[in-house]
Symmetry: D3
Subunit: 61 residues, 6 copies
């Protein structure tokens, strides 16, 4: 019953999000040897001012 | 000091959200034998296009 | 497809953990009007030295 | 490669959020003896009706 | 700067865990069009008694 | 009511963990202008084989 959570900076297209959940599900099911139906994926889009690397928000870059 | 996090698809009413936090708090305090004041609940509403089962976003269903 | 995550200090009995997942599942299904089969609960037991309130680990209390 | 996640009630200013990521990064790098470049901070702003203490949403207080 | 978190029931082999992080990283980088170096993956192995579906711990199944 | 979660590779000393929760609490209270008593910090130590950058577990480095 794997649960995959993907956090990334907002601004991706709907097509990218669809492809991402499809790919993460397929690979998780394949490697962990579970049915795709048992894999949940949740996407969390983070605004660039809320994600910082080295203390600097990504919105500054 | 329990922390309960509930993730679900957005679209619930305010009354449901109130009842949910009340119920989760009451049951957690009762079972773990802590005061209700020490229980925190955070609700995270997820858009249906950001939650996928079997690789398909729930917005498609 | 709700996902409930409960974090609490380690040291609870197996009976408490069973009762907690049962209660959180039942209440979530009831309030959000979903089938119990669609509710996932994950318990995360935290060591008291890894949980701090007011800057003091709970292991000091 | 520390990852710091800070959840708090929405409504803080941009200046506070910048100062928070800067401070959390600096302290984490200092104490854990890692480079600031390896520290990620994600801020999660929670609406007051989605955060409850003692079963009561903070929006009621 | 995507962050992928995979939670699953403990008991997988080291080879499966290696293959999983490799696959999740590769697919995330490909779909989101970021460098693999910017993708972090964290695995969280959950004991079956701490993961419940329909209110029943997976350790009972 | 801020909640801070710090994930890092296991192997830090108890003194470092104490100093980290103290520092994260102090800075969060100061910047967000809340009492230290309302700040919770949870530490999550991750084994190096469960944390990957660029698809490679940190245990390989």
């Amino acid at each position: 019953m794997p649960m995959i959570r993907a956090e990334f900076i907002s601004g991706k297209t709907e097509a990218q999000k669809r492809e991402l959940v499809e790919a993460l599900t397929r690979e998780t099911a394949r490697v962990l040897e579970v049915r795709k139906e048992s894999v949940w994926v949740v996407l969390q889009e983070v605004e660039p001012e809320n994600w910082a690397v080295a203390g600097t928000p990504l919105s500054d870059r």
